[in-house]
């Protein structure tokens, strides 16, 4: 999976590009958890370049959210539209996360 990171101030924006499925979900999850465990207190995960996510991806997201909770870090999401948005809604994940239209909105909210 292509997961470029960008540091903006004390926040990290993680660009989830391509597909999160049963073969890539672990890498995605490990990256988010790794960032949080190494001290990232403000993590924005941007889904605008994501074309696909399966339940394995949601599981990884949930585990990362728990890690964020444990460390009192903020994990917010952005760029969720179309089919991916529909899956978030079906899975009841729109209530569970702070979701913003764009990374700029997410970063503003974290300041």
């Amino acid at each position: 999976m292509d997961l470029p990171e960008e540091r903006i101030g004390d926040a990290v924006v993680l660009d989830a590009r391509g597909r999160i499925d049963s073969t890539t979900a672990k890498e995605f999850g490990d990256r988010m958890i790794g960032l949080i465990e190494s001290g990232c207190r403000h993590l924005v995960v941007d889904f605008k370049n994501l074309v696909y996510i399966s339940s394995a991806g949601f599981r990884a997201l949930l585990l990362a959210a728990r890690k964020a909770d444990e460390t009192e870090s903020a994990l917010v999401l952005c760029g969720i539209t179309g089919k991916i948005r529909q899956l978030f809604e079906i899975g009841g994940f729109t209530d569970l996360f702070r979701i913003y239209p764009s990374r700029e909105d997410g970063l503003s909210a974290l300041r």
């Binding site: 696909y52 399966s54 949930l62 728990r66 089919k83 899956l87 079906i90 899975g91 009841g92």
Partner: protein, 138 residues
């Protein structure tokens, strides 16, 4: 109407092969993008479930998939020789609760049930047979 049949061994890395079959059929038949996208998610979840939980041994098993498309619907039939598993019997996941309480088990099955218009299960001769149907018009 067009049909493509394929078979994969029970390895997650093989699932994209089925996805490509669906894409090829969809392109040839000019199916709407959302119909294909929903089937891709449902198939991925079903195959991942079979591969993850269907077998008591570490051996190689073959999963048959037949995809059919016509103007009215896209259908996938999945057949495996794993343990009996009727997706329709699985309980709905509890979607209440915060991050700490939320269970993720059952989410894939919820996707299948919600994205597909019809799901049919049968078992015969020690094989599970699942049919997923996504209509083009809703």
């Amino acid at each position: 109407m067009a049909t493509i049949a394929t078979a994969i061994p029970n390895r997650r890395a093989e699932i994209p092969r089925v996805a490509r079959v669906v894409d090829d059929l969809a392109a040839a038949q000019g199916l709407p993008g959302d119909v294909v996208a929903d089937m891709q998610v449902a198939l991925d979840e079903v195959l991942t479930n079979i591969i993850s939980y269907g077998y008591a041994d570490e051996g190689v098993h073959v999963i048959q998939v037949r995809v059919t498309a016509d103007e009215r619907s896209l259908t996938a039939e999945i057949e495996d020789d794993g343990r009996p598993f009727n997706l329709l019997d699985a309980p709905e996941p509890d979607l209440r609760g915060g991050v700490r309480d939320r269970a993720v088990g059952g989410l894939g099955i919820r996707f299948v049930r919600t994205l597909m218009d019809h799901v049919e299960y049968s078992r015969a001769a020690d094989r599970n047979h699942l049919v997923l149907t996504r209509r083009t018009a809703r």
